[in-house]
């Protein structure tokens, strides 16, 4: 039972254009959402997050949008740069306020930025 789904295993985007990565979830208890970026042979690194009380969070070139009614979130990267080429994981947590923030991850989307 995949509670966090990333239906696009891969995405190619021209350098300078916008990259949009999508994520859907099924568990309505999730109240905190994160995006992690992963390079080969490295662990995931935190990119950006959003609380369920918000619908948008922006950090530089990265913006995350949350649509709770649709149980959908997306990550926008603009402008896309070659260094953005990596695997992006969507993750969700349902236990922020207990301190146990065990994450449920999607299967990842491999983003390739074409120079």
């Amino acid at each position: 039972d995949q509670q966090v789904k990333q239906n696009s295993p891969s995405l190619s985007v021209q350098e300078g254009r916008i990259s949009i990565l999508n994520c859907d979830y099924t568990n309505s208890m999730f109240d905190y959402f994160l995006w992690y970026k992963k390079y080969p042979a490295e662990g995931p690194t935190f990119l950006i997050s959003i609380s369920s009380i918000k619908d948008k969070n922006e950090d530089g070139r990265f913006t995350v949008f949350l649509n709770k009614s649709a149980k959908h979130l997306s990550l926008h990267i603009v402008p896309s740069q070659p260094g953005d080429s990596a695997v992006y994981f969507c993750a969700a947590s349902a236990e922020r306020y207990t301190g146990n923030e065990k994450l449920t991850f999607g299967t990842g989307t491999r983003l390739t930025i074409i120079p």
């Binding site: 935190f46 065990k102 994450l103 299967t107």
Partner: protein
């Protein structure tokens, strides 16, 4: 400063053998998590340690899996009588463990386990 480290980086073992995977969290981080990523899958939560509290073992897939965290720092994940389906990348993460506030998890590079 030093990040989360894991050892070994790669482990090849024969079916039925026991393996131990080690995680050194970031100094001062009270929360420690183990996850694994099987081929084509997302990261799957295994176990969570927070300070001196009883660990959350709800993600361990079978009783062949166990983990301990000594002195609130280093953690060891042990897999007994390994099976081929245990082959995966095992990732450790640590965080400050501040209840009630967003708490970023920092991941180590992982241990790639291959069971032949």
């Amino acid at each position: 400063g030093a990040g989360v480290s894991q050892s070994p980086s790669n482990k090849v073992t024969e079916k039925g053998k026991d393996v131990e995977l080690r995680c050194d969290p970031i100094s001062g981080h009270t929360a420690l998590y183990w996850y694994r990523q099987s081929l084509g899958q997302g990261l799957e939560f295994l176990i969570y340690f927070q300070g001196n509290s009883a660990p959350d073992k709800s993600g361990l897939p079978s009783d062949r899996f166990s983990a301990e965290r000594t002195g609130g720092s280093v953690s060891t994940l042990t897999i007994q009588r390994t099976q081929q389906e245990d082959s995966a990348v095992y990732l450790c993460a640590s965080s400050l463990g501040r209840g009630g506030l967003p708490d970023t998890q920092y991941f180590g590079p992982g241990t790639r386990l291959t069971v032949l």
